[in-house]
């Protein structure tokens, strides 16, 4: 794919999510579903068969009152940068890592629904369309033209609001900006978070909020020991949250993660 490509300044789009600010309201989940034309739950859907490209989990430190502490952790595709598991296993090459942006892009059009990628993803961030999407009569008028709706039988996941990236690229082209520069846009979840817990930006840009936050001591990533090099950084001042993110072997701690 990268045969003699023009040199571009590659971006590595990532996020920093402040777990201490997240209040579990779910605004990000709703904004994501609206932006990406994710249909409402089918009758048979449960939390294991749902389509939640971003999902907020409630975790706690395993203690009882008054030592009990709780946190909310939004999890979406972590856009692994190293040996991206889903890209490796896909028999259809229906997912690839974009060298220009670092985004792990899923193409539901190519997917044949084997769900190997869902097994490979250590973050359980991929979702399968068990049913054809169905919107109540009239609600299809509210669909977003920037994203194509998927049919049943394909896997889908967060792609950092690529529809918005396309629109931003088009606006940049119309404004005469050179195409070697990464575009400036904001995914739906970051835009809408009422507590400003989610920030998005270019990790390669040392002046961006995400790059600066990612380098701080309180920042960590999920399952760091797997060395998938995800681009979603989390931050919390609470040690027990970092320990849950590292997910030590079962039985090592009393923590329970539910969501």
């Amino acid at each position: 794919m990268t045969s003699a490509n023009k040199s571009i300044r590659a971006a590595r789009y990532g996020m920093t999510i402040d777990v201490d600010r997240c209040n579990g309201c779910g605004a990000c989940m709703m904004a994501c579903a609206v932006e990406n034309n994710v249909p409402p739950a089918h009758e048979g859907a449960t939390d294991r068969k749902g389509l939640t490209w971003i999902r907020v989990f409630k975790v706690d430190n395993g203690e009882e009152y008054p030592d009990r502490r709780t946190a909310f952790v939004p999890v979406m595709c972590q856009h692994c940068g190293n040996e991206t598991p889903c890209v490796h296993v896909c028999p259809q090459q229906a997912v690839d890592v974009d060298p220009a942006t670092g985004v792990v892009g899923e193409m539901p059009q190519r997917c044949l629904g084997c769900r190997y990628c869902m097994a490979a993803c250590p973050y359980h961030a991929r979702y399968f369309n068990w049913w054809d999407p169905a919107w109540p009569a009239g609600m299809e008028k509210t669909l977003n033209p920037g994203v194509t709706p998927r049919m049943r039988g394909v896997v889908e996941k967060c792609n950092l609001c690529h529809g918005r990236w396309h629109a931003a690229k088009e606006a940049a082209a119309a404004a005469g900006k050179p195409d070697t520069e990464p575009v400036d846009y904001t995914p739906a979840c970051a835009e809408v978070c009422p507590t400003a817990a989610i920030h998005f930006g270019d990790l390669n840009d040392a002046t961006s909020v995400v790059a600066m936050e990612a380098g701080k001591a309180e920042s960590f990533r999920l399952l760091e020991r797997l060395n998938t090099q995800p681009k979603i950084y989390y931050r919390s001042k609470r040690d027990w949250v970092r320990e849950i993110a590292a997910a030590p072997q079962p039985g090592a701690r009393k923590e329970k993660a539910r969501g």
Binding site: C25, G26, G50, P136, G138, M139, T142, L143, P149
Partner: protein, 583 residues
């Protein structure tokens, strides 16, 4: 020529090989692949010019500013307005999917307009000397509310009723150093979420809650009390009972209560929410100046609390359930109605609420179809005027409650929102904040016409602050405590509230994850013996209703957390006891 089997086979074989040299089979393969991608029945989003339109969300008293990304004129995405002085660009999960409400599958689409009008006229005529015709306005202080008050004043025995609570009281969060909340969801929907978030680092939050609510988990300190014992703690802090007695009732320890009392003393001013036993620090709770109204409107019926009406005195009741508001238990309303054939007309978009009890259900437009104004939120110190400007047209046949009630009382009304806007403009006070450019300008620099235009294209009027605001008190609606608290029912009910009606997309939060509890569902400790997801029946002394069960180890045994739905609220209020059994 006689064909035999061999020739047929040779012909077939030759054709098969030959056809491979034509584009046909290859085309069929690729076209079938393309066909399989473009599955019929998958809607294709409409294309068109992308525009931004603005309005205010009328789903709750916060009235957050909304920026709608539209394809042509159809909203496809809602978000907040950055820079708004009160909502600061925040929009809650319910507001984000507000544009789906016009398409709710179970929406009330038609109603018996003529029969309802006739029944109303009949009932009004038959009204006895001690009886009354009443409008129950579940979202008071709107411009439409003034029309109801004027209409009831025009009737001989008209009364205008609201749920208890004073909407002219405001809370200045910026002045509070500590917030003591008795179960009030301060960080989960109270006031204006954007404003609370912006002020968050300025106050220390102590949440008193029987279960770990979202607010409790984010608070600086959570005090877990037994359900219904919040008042005991308040009494102890007010010095009316001893700390030991309170510790006994609440389940807290005496040192915890003593430490709390000390903290409140040292870290004032304190804002107290959810209990009227304790006064907040000075300057925090004030009487807000009223948004100006035309002088002629002031000859209107006063606002009366539902509780203060005599029992069995209302012959005709009109309930405005059109603006989303908290549902009052039907029992509180029913006992005010006369015994023989009262007429109850409800304006609603959903059959889940008072429609279950009313004689006539008249369909109304929903957000964002109808123009309505949103009174200032509790945490807005300044008076405000903001209109939820319609973004789409309502379907045919919808009733406008304001016009219907005015007609029933033979009161002539004009464009009441415009009249109010003009009255505000005449005062020359305050500022106009417009959303398209996020700019603020003094009202006196704007013409009356432009003011009206701006309000309808996304804007709000914010009054000047009173230099010496008069103090006020927050009255708490006392939950209707059922008699016979020592019942055999094993569970104490704790209520949570979601905004209803909501988009079907909220299934992401309710069903496709366990983040929030859907209305009509209950959460129980796994020790209850029921299965997760099982259908069950919740029973209180007032009756039963079906509920769905979610198991949650965070709920203490002996407590049932119920997500309020009208059916549930008819059966219980906070503090009541219940049992939940398998169906």
């Amino acid at each position: 020529m006689k064909t035999n089997r061999r020739e047929i086979l040779m012909f077939a074989g030759g054709s098969a090989v030959g056809v491979l040299f034509t584009p046909a089979p290859w085309r069929l393969i690729t076209d079938t692949a393309l066909w399989s991608e473009n599955w019929p029945g998958i809607p294709a989003p409409a294309r068109g010019e992308i525009r931004a339109r603005f309005t205010n969300c009328s789903l709750c008293p916060a009235g957050c500013a909304v920026r709608a990304r539209c394809v042509g004129d159809q909203p496809v995405q809602l978000s907040g307005v950055t820079g708004h002085p009160l909502s600061h660009g925040a929009l809650c999960p319910f507001g984000i999917v507000g544009h789906h409400l016009p398409h709710l599958p179970a929406r009330v689409k038609e109603g018996p307009l003529k029969e309802a009008a006739a029944a109303l006229a009949d009932g009004i005529a038959k009204c006895g000397p001690a009886e009354s015709v009443a409008v129950l306005d579940l979202r008071p202080s709107r411009t439409a509310s003034w029309t109801y008050r004027r209409a009831m004043a025009a009737l001989k025995n008209g009364r205008y009723v609201t749920p208890s609570g004073d909407t002219s009281v405001a809370v200045d969060l910026s002045k509070a150093r500590t917030v003591l909340s008795f179960g009030v969801p301060v960080l989960d929907g109270w006031g204006t979420p954007g404003n609370v978030n912006a002020a968050r680092t300025g106050f220390h939050l102590i949440q008193v809650d029987p279960v770990e609510s979202r607010t409790a988990s984010m608070a600086d300190r959570w005090l877990r009390v037994r359900p219904g014992s919040e008042d005991a703690l308040a009494q102890a802090l007010a010095g009316r009972i001893t700390h030991a007695a309170a510790a006994d009732t609440t389940g807290l320890t005496v040192p915890e209560i003593a430490a709390l009392a000390k903290e409140l003393e040292q870290n004032g001013p304190v804002l107290v929410l959810g209990s009227s036993r304790l006064a907040s620090g000075s300057g925090i709770v004030i009487a807000r100046r009223e948004t100006p109204v035309p002088e002629e409107w002031k000859k209107a019926a006063p606002a009366e609390n539902l509780a203060s009406l005599p029992d069995r005195s209302v012959r005709v009741l009109m309930i405005d359930e059109s603006a989303s508001a908290e549902y009052l238990s039907w029992n509180a309303i029913e006992k005010k109605l006369v015994g023989d054939n009262p007429v109850v007309v409800v304006f609603a978009c959903s059959r889940e609420g008072y429609a279950r009890h009313a004689n006539y259900v008249l369909p109304v437009g929903v957000y964002p179809e109808v123009a309505d104004d949103i009174p200032p939120a509790i945490d807005s110190v300044a008076a405000m005027f903001r209109i939820s400007a319609p973004l789409v047209s309502p379907p045919a046949g919808m009733v406008k409650p304001e016009e219907f009630v005015a007609a029933a009382a033979a009161l002539g009304i004009g464009d009441t929102l415009r009249e109010r806007a003009d009255t505000i403009h005449k005062t020359g006070r305050g500022k106009l904040f417009t959303y398209a450019d996020a700019k603020s300008q003094a009202l006196k620099d704007v013409s009356a016409d432009n003011f009206w235009k701006a309000l309808n294209a996304g804007g709000c009027w914010i009054d000047e602050l009173d230099s010496k605001p008069s103090p006020a008190r927050l009255t708490t609606v006392a939950p209707e405590v059922r008699p016979a608290e020592e019942s055999e029912l094993p569970l104490a009910v704790v209520l949570t509230h979601e905004l209803t009606p909501g988009s079907p997309l909220l299934s992401k939060l309710y069903r496709e994850s366990n983040l929030r509890l859907a209305p009509g569902r209950v959460a129980l400790n796994p020790s209850c013996g029921l299965d997760d997801g099982a259908p069950a029946v919740l029973e209180t002394l007032l009756g039963k209703c079906r509920v769905g069960v979610t198991l949650d180890a965070a709920i203490p045994p002996g407590v049932v957390q119920a997500s309020a739905s009208p059916a549930l609220l008819d059966l219980c209020a906070a503090g009541v006891r219940a049992k939940v059994v398998r169906v």
